[in-house]
Subunit: 404 residues, 2 copies
């Protein structure tokens, strides 16, 4: 049984966090440096972007957690530290500085950056900000989340409680979106903490499996970022017997992890750049799970459908079109489509052809800010969900001149 | 030697065309029915969308030209005749009606439709419009082009003259865009005519090869349409000896065809929905041609880069990012990027890292309405060009409520 609890990334025992403005960004009211810290060493796991152009911090993190352990996460916003000649050096300096301040090893740090690509990252503001970042550590999951945000408009944090080995455990996480979101094996930045005791191997296994149906199923704009990363730190302070193989406890942990990641996925998609609506595409009746995933993701990625949803226009032909070019094997003459929101459900297509429906009712349903696009393929038991958002004037505005 | 000539789809001997308003659209000033006609029977070739959801007219056309011959093209706009239970029937009725009026066989018709998907197409306005459509046939390539336009803002037509077998031949074409443009083996609607005598087999061969580097290399919004089609009619009236195998004449024909298709590609991309700029991405130094194509297309498809170009923002990190997620094998540490327009050229990235450049000069270059994005991969001789456009407020506006 899962229970939602407060505290985000600080909900699990032994974790504290903080976020400060250190000066990478000009706007002094915006925190730009975040820290998540565990009292004790944690097993650690991460997944990274598959973009060939990778942020320097990812390489340093990968190296640091190669032994399966970490104790803190440091992340700056305002600069991606990517495509810079001295990127690795700066990321390593960041680790060294924060490790010294915390009194831990520099190789126990998960380091991340997000922001503009290709502008050298100055170590000075980071060095200056670290003392107050560490001295202010507390139950400040929200500050840490603010510190990693770029064009995000909302703090995205969540925590849940579950039981493993008769001990109460917690998993919590924070995430940033909100553009360049089309994760491939990872997403923008998501940091998860848990006090559950779980081996590094099983932690990585759980995370790698989870992202396939969570972060790999969201898209804001089809652009896979260079700096995507999801990491999990597990400090074992819940006192449960270590999860070292599959079984009941592992399943309980995976369920809790998925509750956290799914919540953050919805949050990232809903807070997509310029978005006014969360789109949730649920596909059922597919030949298999992969087919369902391919169809669901193609639909939430369609610029035309996304623009129609912004206009609350039940233009279901664009759903059919996106199914048709998805690359999935689908019998288009069996496809059914419906739109659903708080205001009700409306069927718009059956067996690949339009059915009469009330445009008025459709408009009422589509004016809500959470829209489900329900697709049945009548071809098996495969199902999948993908998340996206509408395409709006503000997406263009935000990205027409992001650097200034 | 190619020479550009006037006349579009009517430039080649024996071809006439027309476009009328028949009443599929409410706006009486918008032509919605187009005809291209040859005095004599033509060899015919076509390529079609790879979208699994296909417009009914495509199936009828495919069947009609299976024997390699056709004599006329009829196309309506305002309704795609796709995902309708009676779609095939309506497309066949259209062929029968126009064939009767022209006094030719109903199986010598290329039939096409473009517009909203999933709304039944009434035969009545088409039947009513056909007499004036036929009686008005003349050198009206522009009327025909207007008749197939949807959200296009400009007539896109071109013709060139070349020599085959010592005879002067002409190839001309018309095209529509302007949304749902991400062709896969074909594009939206392009109709090409020629008086060159060429066998149906060689005509198909030439067309199929051509689209790989022309229409398959453009994208407005990443949405592959259900109704894409490119067709060519060749009536042989130039009097050249039939081109029935590869050789000098075939090469001359292919060159002329490519001049027409490339011109139309640029026109479609520049007139993409809401577009203010044509983007031309030229990749060189790739391991092979396919790698170059993959990279070029990924770059012109990036929503983030498209928005940056709208804002005249030299955000080259987004170019690197799109190269990195393209799926192509690229050594990112060797990549060079420059922007070029009438106002000059500016190098922004060398060996995968940023170089200092004047933001002022970059802005001046990017404020032009034709922008070249030059990418060198320093890894071989492969090269390719892809065409796209910027992402603007008007794209969202046009597609937020397309059906009303």
């Amino acid at each position: 049984m899962l229970k939602q609890v407060q505290g985000g990334v600080c909900a699990a025992k032994g974790f504290t966090a903080n976020g400060v403005h250190c000066g990478i960004r000009k706007n002094k009211t915006k925190r730009d440096l975040a820290l998540v810290y565990s009292q004790v060493k944690c097993t650690a796991a991460a997944v990274y972007t598959k973009n060939l152009v990778k942020g320097a911090p990812l390489a340093v993190t990968k190296n640091n957690i190669a032994d399966g352990y970490a104790q803190a996460v440091i992340c700056n916003s305002g600069n991606a530290n990517t495509c810079n000649a001295n990127g690795i050096e700066i990321a390593e300096q960041t680790c060294a500085l924060i490790a010294k301040e915390l009194g831990i090893s520099a190789t126990d740090i998960v380091v991340a950056s997000t922001g503009v690509i290709g502008q050298p990252l100055d170590i000075t503001p980071i060095a200056n900000g670290i003392p107050s970042l560490v001295s202010g550590l507390g139950a400040h999951s929200d500050f840490a989340c603010e510190g990693i945000m770029t064009t995000d408009t909302k703090v995205k944090e969540i925590a849940v409680e579950f039981t493993a080995g008769r001990k109460t455990c917690r998993v919590g996480g924070i995430a940033k979106g909100s553009g360049m979101i089309h994760p491939n094996m990872a997403t923008m930045l998501v940091f998860v903490t848990t006090d559950c005791r779980i081996s590094a191997k099983m932690l990585q296994k759980a995370l790698s499996a989870d992202v396939e149906s969570s972060f790999n199923m969201i898209s804001v704009d089809g652009d896979t970022s260079t700096n995507d990363m999801v990491s999990v730190l597990a400090n074992g302070m819940a006192g449960n017997e270590e999860i070292a193989c599959e079984g009941e406890d592992y399943a309980a942990f995976c369920e809790a992890l998925n509750a956290v990641t799914t919540y953050l996925c919805r949050g990232i998609a809903a807070d997509g750049e310029g978005a006014t609506k969360l789109l949730e595409c649920k596909v059922c009746g597919a030949k298999d799970g992969q087919t369902a995933k391919t169809v669901a993701k193609s639909v939430v990625c369609s610029s035309l459908l996304k623009a129609a949803m912004f206009g609350a226009d039940a233009n279901w032909g664009r759903v059919l079109c996106a199914i048709g070019y998805s690359g999935a094997e689908v019998d288009v003459d069996k496809v059914g489509v419906a739109f659903r929101s708080k205001k009700g459900t409306i069927v718009v297509c059956e067996k690949g052809a339009g059915v009469e429906f009330s445009e008025e009712k459709a408009k009422e349903i589509l004016l809500e800010n959470e829209i489900e696009i329900l697709i049945s393929l009548d071809d098996g038991d495969g199902k999948a969900t993908a998340w996206g958002c509408d395409l709006t004037y503000d997406y263009v505005k935000i990205n027409g001149d992001y650097r200034t």
